[in-house]
Amino acid sequence: MNGDNAIIEMHKVSKRFGHIKALDNVDLEICPGRIIGLVGANGSGKSTLLRHMIGLYLADEGQCVTFGCDAAKLGPKELGRIGYVHQEGELLGWMKTRQLIRYVSAYYPTWNRELEEQYIADFDISTKARVGSLSPGQRQKLAILLAVCFEPEFLILDEPASALDPIARGQFLDLLLKIIQDEKRTIIISSHILSDVEKVIDHLLIMKKGTLLRDCSFDDLREEYCRVKLTLLSGSLPATLPFGPMVDCVREGGSAIITLQNYTREEIEDKAKAMNCEAEVQALTLEDIYRIVVGE
């Protein structure tokens, strides 16, 4: 991801927690106007990466620059442009919901009261309940509201939908799509619910054991991998299929399902025709791609 106007620039960032290397030489640039998916297994370093961007964690080595400012020195002006939903949804439990909203809104000159009322209604948030008494799902909705209503330029969502029910998740994804209609907005979303993430993202970061395995456009990645169902029209399938090294191959009688990397549709169809086969090319889901990339 290259751009002169990157809002996040990470250069050789490393972070250790005791013996565990949470981030290992991570290089990353995030340009505005994107909606980025950040995926990886538990403990792969996703939350640590996000926390470095806002200066909650400081790198042991390397440098992280956010909105042109060293993350360690981020001030209210830069942080006032960033919305953040924390994985554990930790909020001020003793306040009532409305009190917490008023408290957070007091910090932002750009707080949108109309949006606030709309989300309260859409998400069905009880404004009179104490925050600590809310269910995890309600608390997560409230955290999203607090991060969104001042219309931040950069929205960091760390596992924002893990406690939401399917309907609320749908509303949440609609909300993200609405936010991203403003071209200056950038969203980075870390989630394990890959089926949701793939509906909204245009860029993907895949992490494993503190390293960034992939940093690319989601469309490019979907074009890079495909699944092909080969059905024999006549004769028999050759013992070795003419596709070079394949990601995966399952043969059954006169058909085979193969997973390929870096093949165009035309190339596949030509090779299938040569084998007297019919080829049905399918795009892979994000979950499939993720499994391939992390090698599982």
């Binding site: 926390r51 806002i54 200066g55 909650l56 964690y57 400081l58 360690a72 020195k73 981020l74 001030g75 209210p76 002006k77 830069e78 942080l79 006032g80 960033i82 919305g83 953040y84 924390h86 554990e88 930790e90 909020l91 001020l92 439990g93 003793w94 306040m95 009532k96 009190q99 008023r102 408290y103 957070v104 007091a106 910090y107 932002y108 000159p109 104490r130 925050v131 600590g132 008494s133 809310l134 607090l146 991060a147």
Partner: protein
């Protein structure tokens, strides 16, 4: 765990797995150290001119609480509810641990003068049974107190050790001791019946259901900051005392108004916001009844405490009250909810945390001042209490020693900042500081301050300077969550 063989084998292996918690659970180790320290209360009174033998009941009681909490933790896990053959294991575990602990503790009566063999055996057995009753009292309190956090049981639990000490002052232990020695069979019989009732109570059908998946807080949870925070949030969300909602509502309006008068995205707005959250957090915990309890409790306890060891007129015995709250504040979190991102940089957080420290210091200082005034007023009314050879004369607190609190409180803040994410380290330091202050106050027996006002002022400046330095380093160089 063997599953195929007979039920008894399986039950035995489940019990063995439960017993392994006694060394596998890290949180217990600290309590073993605390239990070991209690042997002083067993051994020292045995060397008095009129020896006293019931100190072991403290160990029985605490062991019972420990065993109870171990089982509460297990029962609380949903998987435990579904484990085959687990229903009666808590009872077996508690009784087995109790039998071993109290069976050994009963041997203190070997040292009772003038008991011949075989009579001493019956006394040892009776002593063990009485210990078992106290053990089961601790267990029962752990089981009932942990079920509903904030329930009255919890306060009762906090009072229990205090009651044991008061009982010792009143000489109840001597009465109990003489009853054991004089009527061992009767005492063993009565204790056995009480144990049998508890055995039945622990074997009830609903035991697993009562604890499964409920919000519980045990004495080992200091190791788990996330759980502590979850419990704190849950407690804060409970319906407060009368007028609390109105008070917090007013507080919210006042501080939101004050924040709105500060510059947007400026440090002032964050500092005011932090004062609001720090104050709100304190007011949620301190209900009016809690404040009255604290003020009166401190004034009464420390007022009479000064007489112990003939300490009237000495500084520390009574004025130690000014150091205790300073040590307690070691558990204050000066940066509430760091993961709630508001526009405040690390510099702003420095000022915000400093403001929180000031608010907490002032609030506690005001409470201490009130306690001091109350104690001075009470001095004119409260009579002497005579307990055998001990005369407890009430002595009011001396306001001139109030600065002790302000001088030493930055040490607690330093620990609180340095070990923000390690509650157990804070607890250990807190216990150590309490011991140092207690023993120091007994040992020093000062009638005058060791340093003059200028010395104290200088010490205060140094300690507050140290706190500012620690806070600055934390805010500039360390992770904030």
């Amino acid at each position: 765990m063997r599953i195929v063989e007979g039920f008894e084998d399986v039950a035995m292996s489940i019990l063995a797995v439960n017993l392994k918690h006694l060394y596998q659970r890290r949180g217990l180790w600290l309590w073993y150290v605390i239990l070991l320290c209690q042997f002083g209360a067993v051994v020292l009174p045995m060397k008095l001119k009129d020896p006293r033998f019931m100190g072991y009941l403290i160990i029985s009681f605490l062991s019972g609480m420990v065993a109870g909490f171990v089982q509460v933790e297990i029962l609380n896990k949903p998987f435990a509810f579904c484990l085959p053959g687990h229903r009666l294991i808590p009872r077996r575990f508690i009784m087995l641990v109790g039998a071993v602990v109290n069976g050994l503790l009963g041997f203190v009566f070997v040292f009772y003068p003038g008991l011949g063999f075989p009579y001493v055996v019956s006394v040892i057995v009776a002593g063990g049974f009485v210990g078992m009753v106290f053990y089961l009292l601790g267990t029962s309190l752990a089981l009932s107190g942990s079920q509903q956090i904030g329930a009255q049981h919890n306060r009762l639990m906090g009072f229990s050790p205090f009651l044991v000490i008061v009982g010792a002052f009143l000489g109840w232990d001597i009465i109990l001791q003489e009853m054991i020695v004089s009527y061992p069979v009767v005492m063993a019989g009565i204790s056995f019946v009480m144990c049998w009732f508890t055995w039945r109570w622990l074997g009830r059908e609903s035991l697993g259901r009562d604890y499964c998946g409920t919000m519980v807080m045990t004495m080992f949870d200091g190791f788990d900051p996330k759980k502590v925070e979850r419990i704190r949030q849950w407690k804060a969300s409970q319906k407060g005392h009368i007028g609390q909602a109105a008070l917090l509502g007013w507080l919210g309006r006042f501080f939101n108004g004050w924040m709105s008068r500060q510059e947007f995205l400026g440090t002032g707005r964050y500092v005011v916001g932090n004062i609001y959250t720090a104050l709100g957090k304190c007011l949620v915990v301190l209900s009016p009844s809690t404040m009255v309890f604290l003020v009166l409790g401190f004034a009464l306890y420390f007022g009479y405490f000064s007489s112990m060891g003939g300490g009237a007129g000495k500084i520390w015995q009574v004025n130690i009250v000014y150091l205790w709250p300073a040590i307690f504040l070691l558990n204050v979190d000066l940066l509430p909810c760091p993961s709630l991102l508001v526009p405040a940089g690390r510099r702003d957080k420095y000022y915000g945390m400093l403001a929180s420290a000031m608010v907490v210091t002032l609030l506690t200082g005001v409470l201490l001042l009130i306690a001091t005034c109350v104690s001075v007023w009470l001095e004119g009314y409260l009579p002497d209490i005579t307990l055998k050879r001990l005369v407890l004369s009430y002595q009011g607190l001396h306001v001139r020693y109030l600065p002790l609190f302000f001088v030493f409180v930055p040490i607690s803040f330093c620990v609180s900042v340095l070990f923000r994410r390690s509650a157990i380290v804070r607890i250990v330091i807190m216990v150590l500081l309490f011991q140092v202050v207690m023993i120091g106050s007994m040992a020093m027996s000062l009638k005058e301050m060791p340093v003059g006002p200028i010395g104290f002022l200088l010490l205060g400046v140094i300690l507050w300077g140290l706190f500012l330095w620690v806070l600055d380093r934390h805010c500039r160089r360390r992770s904030l969550v």
